[in-house]
Amino acid sequence: MSMAKFFVGILLATLGLNAVHADELVVYSGRKDKFIKPVIKQFTEQTGIKVVLHTAKSTALLNKLRVEGDRTVADLFISNDAGNLQIGSKLGLFQPIDDKMIGVIPEQLRASDNSWVGLSARARVLVVNTKARDVDFVKSVFDLANPKLKDRIAITHSGNGSFVAGVTVYMLGSSKDKVRNWLTGMKANAGNKLFSKHSKIVKAVASGKKDIGLVNHYYIYRHLAKNPNAPIKILLPDQSKDDIGVAWNVAGVAVSKYTKQKANAEKLIKFLISKTGQKQFAGANSEYPTLTGVAASAEVPAAGSYRVAKVPMQDLGKYRNETLDLLDAVGMP
């Protein structure tokens, strides 16, 4: 009956796995592992507080938090998208963070009820091939719908969270009709070729397959770090006086409503919005630190040197379903 022993053994071994210790801080994280691990490690070294990272897609984690309710083991939630943070807040999954502590972060980059706070920001920008002809007229993201750019633009499909967040900003900054027309024109210009990843867009622009692409700023610098001579440049769109400005989005953190370790959870947040934490958290991905006075990496256009859309980050969550409906109506793949 050695077979039976084997089966019983494997069952017992599996049931013995898992188990989070009571004194460990559990973070549901939707941010890329490699960007967040170094910061967390530093936090543990400084404070001795152990952290368990449970990585998955932000939306999947929100679903998990929602279904788990008061049985959740999560103490904190980190997401790469303000929209997700705000939706979690609306679902009542978080609790307010100490006002005095996060007051140092600009109001626009956190929830008005302090249920979450932004940690790093990214800009939606255009990447342009420096050798491309006849692209000088492009000054705004809305120009991507210009028929002159037929088959020359690179955009992600509408399943991409950053794309959706960007569209929300444009919708709130202008009007639904304008954005609907814009999407329709862009759909025609992109043809059948939609990109699954931002890195592929930058690659396609660098190789000259496409002339211009819509991306988060750091993908450009990531490509340039590997290929310093790539013929690409950043173009900050919508900078004229009447334009809406560049769309931003933030990654941020919230405290679970049902945490039993609020003090330690706030210690982690305090670390993340400290100067050291900010440099690490944002610097790992060439993003903008949200703490005023901490500069982004040198290659990135300095915050404050260009117009940013005046849309509060929490609106990315409030209006996301409207954006999704709009994308569906246009039939954006």
């Binding site: 939306t59 999947a60 049985r71 939609l194």
Partner: protein, 523 residues
């Protein structure tokens, strides 16, 4: 006798009840969907989804049919150098999950990928490199990932088919092709139907490849409905439609098989003669089988190996990585064991007491096949949270979901071997004084051990690769190989996923070997 069946029926009823938990969840949630909600789904989403899903299923079925039947026929009917190896090569693609295929091929087809480079050197810029983000691409991925099921089933059926019929047809003047068309193919119908059903069900429930390639099938759409819109009711509504679709397909398939009985009159049976292939034929055979192997196994594995070496050189393979490996193997092993044990009463009850009740049990136990993984996970999660909440946080939820998902595989293979066990043997045991339990232990179980092992192996292979339910239900901080592949791939650092993918392949190999060996022994 009566009492025992009563107990058996009770136990299998209980198991079926657990397997039906996700279905109840779907029924409950979709009952809350308002009339307007249904109408919106019906008019906006369903027509496209229906078309996308069904056309994909048909195309993948055709793809798998061509690859699976041709390779099975060549290998059973022709003798050529390396035939034993060829059998293995046709089964090995089962070790690679669909999402890994999808990731690897999108990478290979990029401009600086191996296939992209090869394409450019042949066609230059004249013809664009093919893109996988469409129905053709998904068909390609799912066909190379799924044809092995067709190969396995058709191969065993071909090995059993009867030469006399073929010769009779040849004597009547039928050409070889016409014999294949009019004699072999009809004889193979049950095997082909069963394997096609398997392929189509895999297509309907596939999450990995379609989500990677963004092809909107029911499963992906259900997932997106829950995931980005937090609309469980809409998701449940879509799931209901999918369940009805798959269930009617399953019942249709079972029904069409019911009337078919192909067997020959015992003693006259002669085994098929295997033609020795000429040199030229051997070359053609290997050209065909080699091409299949190249795309369905060699290329992906070569990619995994080369990036794994890179990862190893850069010290990415550390203790944490081996932790993922052991996590995966333990979870898959435990799920396979539980599924094997749970499947037995259901299969046994059905073979012994064939009735409307047992039939219903069988249908209900196949829920795991027709519901998408994310929905099963959510159903199980809600069940555990509200009914068995002390168990939450550990392995219980994940194991339960895996068992529910793969129970049908275990039931089917046990049912098949139980059918070969004549009741008289069992009755003899009872007459000789064995009690029901002793009889079970000493007569029934040893005789169906082959079916038990293949049940275990089938569940193990699929559980090892499982992604959507594991994503949702794994305990906090608990990562398995598929989870790591998924994380690395979504971080656009796919290369780092190579060692994990390779370990999945290696981890499946012993299980596959076990299955092939027991199959060879049964012959």
């Amino acid at each position: 006798m009566r009492r025992r069946v009563g107990v058996l029926g009770l136990i299998s009823g209980l198991i079926v009840l657990i397997a039906a938990v996700p279905l109840m969840f779907v029924l409950y949630s979709s009952a809350q969907l308002s009339f307007d909600g249904w109408q919106a789904l019906w008019s906006k989403r369903l027509p496209d989804l229906m078309w996308n899903t069904l056309s994909l299923a048909v195309m993948v079925a055709i793809g798998c049919f061509i690859l699976g039947v041709s390779s099975a026929w060549l290998i059973v009917r022709r003798n050529f150098v390396g035939r034993g190896l060829a059998i293995w090569l046709m089964v090995l693609p089962l070790t690679i999950p669909t999402y890994v295929f999808a990731h690897i091929y999108t990478t290979l087809l990029e401009e600086d990928g191996w296939l992209g480079q090869a394409w450019l050197s042949v066609f230059g810029d004249m013809v664009a490199i093919p893109d996988l983000y469409n129905v053709g691409g998904v068909t390609f991925i799912l066909s190379i990932a799924g044809f092995s099921y067709v190969f396995l089933l058709v191969r065993s059926a071909l090995g059993l088919s009867n030469l006399s019929l073929e010769e009779a047809a040849r004597i009547q003047g039928a050409s070889a092709l016409s014999v294949f068309w009019h004699v072999n193919l009809p004889m193979l119908r049950p095997a082909i139907a069963a394997s096609m059903a398997l392929v189509v069900l895999h297509v309907l429930s596939d999450f990995g490849a379609v989500s990677m390639l963004r092809y909107q099938t029911f499963t992906l759409s259900i997932y997106l409905q829950m995931d980005s819109r937090f609309d469980y009711q809409g998701a449940a509504g879509l799931s209901m439609v999918l369940v009805v679709l798959s269930m009617s397909f399953l019942i249709l398939e079972r029904f069409s098989r019911r009337k078919q009985r192909y067997y020959s009159s015992g003693t006259q049976q002669r085994h098929v003669k295997i033609h020795r292939a000429s040199k030229f034929e051997q070359m053609l055979i290997w050209l065909w089988l080699g091409t299949i192997t190249l795309f369905a196994f060699a290329l992906p594995v070569f990619w995994m190996v080369s990036w794994s070496i890179e990862a190893w050189l850069q010290d990415y393979i550390d203790a944490t990585f081996w932790g993922y490996v052991s996590n995966s193997i333990l979870v898959a092993g435990a799920a396979a064991t539980l599924a094997m044990v749970c499947a037995f009463p259901v299969a046994f009850f059905h073979t012994r007491k064939r009735s409307l009740l047992s039939n219903t049990y069988i249908q209900l136990s196949s829920i795991g096949f027709v519901l998408p993984g994310p929905v099963i996970a959510l159903g199980v999660l809600s069940f555990i949270l509200f009914v068995l909440s002390p168990l939450y946080g550990g392995m219980a939820a994940l194991l339960m979901a895996l068992v529910v998902r793969f129970l049908p595989l275990a039931v089917q293979s046990q049912e098949a071997s139980l059918q070969q066990l004549t009741p008289s043997i069992e009755q003899a045991g009872r007459i000789l004084g064995a009690g029901p339990l002793e009889n079970l232990r000493r007569v029934v179980l040893p005789m169906i051990s082959g079916g038990m092992i293949s049940a275990w192996v089938l569940v193990f292979i699929d559980a090892l690769k499982e992604l959507p339910a594991t994503l949702i239900l794994r305990p906090t901080g608990f990562d398995t190989l598929p989870i790591r592949i998924w994380i690395e791939a979504s971080e656009e650092t796919l290369e780092l996923a190579a060692p994990a993918a390779l370990m999945l392949v290696l981890g499946t190999l012993p299980a596959l070997w076990l299955m092939m060996r027991s199959e060879a022994r049964n012959k």
